[in-house]
């Protein structure tokens, strides 16, 4: 849908979505509760954080590539989702 910074390309989106869906299935199987986010630990301490949110009944998948784990990552994700929600629907984001 949208990208900023050094985004790796279109194929990346498909894998990212698959990974989030697989993590949801794994959470169901292992009775882990709803996944909050998934992350890949990459070389040189980099991390790819992924989050699924539902805006106006539609699932969106957010991927953030960072040099390290940022402080307050959950609130950062919340802020980004709120921005996306406002841009897409004009409304404030409400978590289901």
């Amino acid at each position: 849908m949208a990208e900023a910074g050094r985004a790796p390309g279109e194929e990346f989106a498909a894998y990212s979505t698959s990974l989030m869906e697989t993590s949801q299935t794994m959470a169901d199987i292992a009775d882990l509760g709803n996944p909050v986010c998934s992350a890949l630990v990459l070389n040189k301490g980099r991390m790819l954080l992924m989050h699924e949110a539902t805006i106006d009944g539609q699932a969106i998948y957010l991927s953030i590539l960072c040099g390290g784990v940022p402080a307050g990552v959950q609130s950062l994700i919340g802020k980004i989702v709120a921005c996306v929600s406002k841009a897409l629907t004009g409304n404030e984001y409400r978590e289901l």
Binding site: T22, M26, A27, N34, V36, L40, L65
Partner: protein, 160 residues
């Protein structure tokens, strides 16, 4: 083969018993088959192994898309637990499942250390298997004892 599986099972059991907030440890093959596991909670090892294998494969695919060779670890944080997946050598992967009380850094640290132990156990087992195989070959190549030869010749002579 079973030697290293037993050794891994013992090691995982020891880890889960030692770490208070670590609920489960599962070792499986890259094709999603369980090898050994230990847990304080009930887990479906077969289904979980398959999902973990898929997750790590997807993680690797994503990392490759981003220009890396593979990903080091995959972490999934849920409301109840945190799951960490890591490669254990070329053919296996390790899954650790911790409660929310267990810090992410600690979970990843446990995963890294445990992989080193497991790889060592597997290498040791393979080494022992190779030595046994070599001993067998040497045993087979040994010339028959002189006494046995004489006995056989005498027996054959009597039969004639």
């Amino acid at each position: 083969m079973s030697n290293y599986k037993d050794a891994c099972r013992r090691e995982l059991k020891h880890l889960v018993e030692r770490e208070q907030h670590l609920d489960a440890a599962l070792l499986c093959s890259v094709d999603g088959l369980p090898i050994a596991y230990a847990s304080t909670i009930e887990i479906e090892a077969d289904a979980l192994s398959a999902m973990c294998s898929s997750m790590l494969s997807l993680g690797d695919a994503l990392a490759i898309q981003g220009g890396d060779d593979n990903c080091i670890q995959v972490v999934t944080q849920s409301m109840g637990r945190t799951v960490a997946l890591i490669h254990a050598g070329q053919e296996m992967l390790l899954t650790l499942m911790g409660s929310r009380e267990l810090k992410l850094g600690m979970l990843l640290g446990h995963a890294r250390k445990e992989v080193e132990v497991i790889v060592e156990l597997v290498n040791k087992s393979h080494h022992e298997e190779r030595i046994t195989e070599q001993e067998k070959t040497i045993e087979q190549k040994k010339p028959a004892l002189l006494e046995e030869l004489v006995k056989r010749v005498m027996q054959e002579a009597q039969e004639r």
